[in-house]
């Protein structure tokens, strides 16, 4: 078993070396080594996951020194399989996509190194190994995004990613230092064990260790998972090769969710940190989604969609649903990877068919199709609001009835309801000749998705956190006072329902040509179109920092 654990990150590392060394001899054919290694890594990861599923207990492989240890536990093997899978798909896609690019072999070498770094990160058994992998991922991504050495734009945006990642490294380093100072070991299992034995330990300024480390780890996760204010790099890194975008959006950006899960034994001892995690996730989810809707560039729109999804993932951690966040990151990784790899095809299709819906009059007179019709809005509104609740409640009652005792689950169900209702609301908007058929299909799809999501997330919970007491502790750490909880849920419900009513009346006004956009509405639009001026602020800050640095150099030119 030990050998298999070590072999997993060693395979892509060895492949990188061999691919690079054999390139002068084999030319572009050297990438076959990388592909073979990708297949072997995936198989090995599947075997390890098989061991974990068959009940093999968690193992810690000690390298014999302060660092270099690897951990075999459900989280690491599950993430390894995801990384190996996505990495192989990206490599296979790149075989033809990148063939005309300069540095074809170098690209595969970098992909191999990135895979190795990601595998080491998820399997790191000590803090130093985790820090090394965490840091190297940022560096490798910088060079992958800037694969085209002639493109200054690719490097400029690659640099944004690099510097945000470096910024995110810093809190993780500080967390590692605090943990080492307190528990006198780098080993993660030992740290968690000692923390469980003494959860009230204090660190600098008499802050509880768990709170300090929890906050620092969360900050590191925020930078890696593009949370609001640390998100600017994500939608702007589209100058890099498409396979890198796919790898980044499907895998690397999810590292924040992984990190919070890795430190779950710390979060069970925290009091208020998860609330802040939830708030940051919520803000990111809302802002990411709003910005996504206002884009007209498919890749940038996907970038903001990822930001919104990362917000949801972090939010799930914030409500204590850690295993759900892992499921979310895997599901998101798969569908976002597919979307990115398909963007080229979509753009190509759009060149031939603009996809703009035709006018009703045109379809009726020219295409001789009957006009589309809509159902009475009251019936549709009732269906829109009631069906998602019914589907969500029944599916959760079926899987885990006790879920309704957890605040986190209620919050997620609430979001499920909003999403479901939004979906049906959008369906109502879609003019169709057979609206009931369309509605039935949408509701059926929604039911399948909800049942699948509920079942799979329940299985993830059992697999990743088999101790029910521990899972309960996580929810408890994220919980707030019941009175406040009810007030907040009521408030958010009111805001959303009011928003829907506003949208409905806005649409009616548009139809009746009564639309008069107020000044505040245009201001809001300007704010969104300038992406909340965050990028402008950073650009201004950077310019001034560089100017100050230059001024200092002039003043101190003598030394």
């Amino acid at each position: 078993m030990d050998q298999l654990i070590i072999l997993l990150p060693t395979l892509p590392l060895l492949s990188a070396l061999l691919t690079h060394l054999s390139a002068p001899l084999l030319g572009n054919q050297a990438i076959r080594i990388s592909l073979t290694s990708g297949v072997l890594t995936l198989l090995l990861a599947a075997v390890l996951l098989g061991f974990a599923l068959s009940g093999q207990t968690a193992q810690w492989h000690d390298s014999g020194s302060a660092w270099g240890s690897l951990l075999f536990d459900p989280l690491s093997v599950l993430m390894s399989l995801v990384i190996a899978g996505i990495s192989l798909i990206v490599r296979l896609y790149s075989v033809r996509y990148m063939v005309e690019e300069k540095g074809y072999v170098r690209f595969f070498v970098l992909l191999d190194l990135m895979t190795a770094a990601l595998l080491v990160m998820v399997a790191a058994g000590d803090l130093i190994t985790l820090l090394i992998a965490w840091h190297l991922i940022g560096v490798l991504l910088y060079f992958l995004l800037g694969h085209d050495m002639r493109s200054t734009a690719a490097y400029r945006y690659g640099f944004w990613t690099f510097i945000t990642y470096r910024l995110g490294d810093l809190p993780l380093i500080l967390a590692a230092v605090v943990l080492f100072h307190t528990y006198e070991t780098w080993s993660l299992p030992l740290i968690f064990e000692r923390m469980a034995a003494n959860p009230a330990a204090l660190t600098f300024f008499n802050i509880p260790v768990a709170e300090a480390v929890g906050a620092l780890v969360a900050m590191a996760a925020f930078a890696r998972s593009a949370q609001f204010l640390l998100h600017t790099w994500l939608p702007y890194t589209m100058e890099g090769p498409t396979p890198v975008s796919a790898l980044m959006h499907a895998g690397i950006v999810n590292a924040g969710g992984f990190l919070i899960n890795r430190f779950a034994p710390v979060y069970v001892h925290t009091d208020g940190v998860l609330h802040w995690v939830f708030i940051v996730g919520l803000i990111t989810a809302v802002i990411g989604s709003v910005l996504m809707l206002s884009q007209n560039d498919i890749k940038k729109s996907l970038g903001y969609s990822t930001m919104g999804q990362m917000g949801f993932m972090i939010m799930e951690c914030g409500v204590g649903a850690f295993s759900l966040a892992v499921f979310h990151l895997i599901a998101h990784g798969l569908f976002k990877g597919t979307l990115f790899l398909g963007t080229g095809g979509v753009i190509n299709e759009a060149r031939h068919n603009d996809g703009v819906p035709k006018d009703d009059l045109y379809t009726f007179i020219v295409e001789r199709k009957p006009p589309t019709n809509r159902q009475p809005w009251l019936i549709m509104a009732i269906i829109t609001l009631a069906v998602p609740v019914l589907v969500l409640v029944l599916s959760h009652l079926w899987v885990a009835p006790d879920l309704f005792h957890k605040q986190g689950a209620i919050v997620l169900l609430f979001f499920g309801w909003v999403t479901g209702a939004q979906l049906l609301f959008s369906t109502y908007h879609m003019s169709s000749q057979n609206p009931w058929r369309l509605f039935t299909l949408i509701i059926f799809s929604f039911t399948v998705v909800v049942i699948g999501y509920t079942l799979i997330s329940h299985m993830f919970d059992v697999f990743l956190y088999p101790d029910p007491a521990f899972a309960k502790q996580l929810y408890a750490a994220a919980g707030i006072d019941v009175g406040w909880f009810d007030v907040l849920i009521g408030l958010i419900t009111a805001i959303i329902v009011l928003g829907w009513l506003r949208a409905y009346y806005a649409e009616r006004s548009t139809k009746q040509r009564k639309t008069q956009h107020g000044g505040w509405w245009m201001d809001f639009y300007a704010l969104i179109s300038r992406e909340f001026y965050v990028i402008d602020l950073y650009a201004w800050l950077t310019r001034h920092l560089l100017a100050t640095s230059a001024r200092l150099n002039t003043w101190l030119k003598w030394g």
Binding site: T548, S549, L552, N553, W558, G559
Partner: protein
């Protein structure tokens, strides 16, 4: 007597404004071998002097640590806008050596301290060699004068990338472990300053690489030749050796 030696130490483990001496000296040395030697020996002299005086002079620990931290931050910040590569090297050396005060004042073992100084200096010597290679090819080692080196000097560019990663304390190079060791001996606010210095190094490193390697080549000429294969291998072996020895010899206690 001991106080005087302690004062002289400040020149060798440079603290601003006494750091001016090293930077001026480094800039004025015409010979590359002397520059390399200076990079290797300068902090070792400082550590030797500090070791000699430490038993007899009571340095105000908190103040010197803060002074060292501010010096390191100042020089790291100045790196951001620097375009002359030799100056870049001397400022980074000053920034990193200033940090050695922290473990030195916290009673770190003498051998570990000397090794730490060496791990900071050794990649800087390699970078000085690369700066010389640029001077020989273009007449000056200056960023922004010529771009797109990666396109027509790929071997040189590859070595430059790894060397810059080494000097900016990227894992698995030894400076990374040295920085981790210093962080372990720092007070919380000093640790915060340290990670900011580290961030500034990375920022400056990325700017240096970008301004030299990326973009359309604006000065391609047949007379400008890339590193030969044997020379590239020599650099590769040196960098690999640096990384491997750093992994084994730098002390991050278990």
């Amino acid at each position: 007597m001991y106080e005087l030696i302690a004062l002289i130490t400040i020149f060798f483990l440079p603290l601003f404004p006494f750091s001016i001496l090293f930077n001026a000296l480094f800039e004025r040395l015409p010979d590359l071998r002397l520059r390399g030697l200076l990079l290797l020996i300068w902090p070792q002299i400082g550590l030797g002097l500090l070791h000699f005086t430490s038993a007899n002079v009571n340095l105000p620990l908190a103040w010197v640590t803060l002074w060292a931290m501010l010096t390191a931050t100042l020089y790291a910040f100045r790196l951001l806008a620097l375009r002359e590569m030799n100056r870049w090297i001397s400022l980074l050396a000053t920034s990193s050596w200033a940090l050695l005060w922290i473990p030195a004042l916290n009673g770190e073992e003498t051998l570990t301290l000397h090794l730490s100084a060496f791990w900071f200096s050794a990649p800087l010597v390699l970078l000085a060699l690369l700066a010389m290679a640029l001077q020989q090819r273009f007449g000056a080692a200056y960023t922004g004068l010529y771009t797109g080196l990666a396109t027509y000097l790929p071997r040189f560019s590859g070595i430059l990338v790894f060397t810059v990663l080494a000097v900016t304390a990227t894992p698995l190079f030894p400076a990374f472990f040295v920085m981790l060791g210093i962080l372990l001996q720092s007070e919380p606010m000093i640790a915060l300053g340290l990670v900011i210095v580290w961030l500034l190094w990375s920022w400056a490193g990325a700017r240096l690489l970008q301004s030299l390697l990326v973009g359309q080549p604006n000065n391609p000429s047949d007379e400008i030749t890339d590193f030969s294969a044997p020379l590239t291998w020599r650099y590769t072996v040196l960098l690999t050796g640096l990384a491997i020895s750093g992994m084994y010899l730098t002390g991050v206690s278990a």
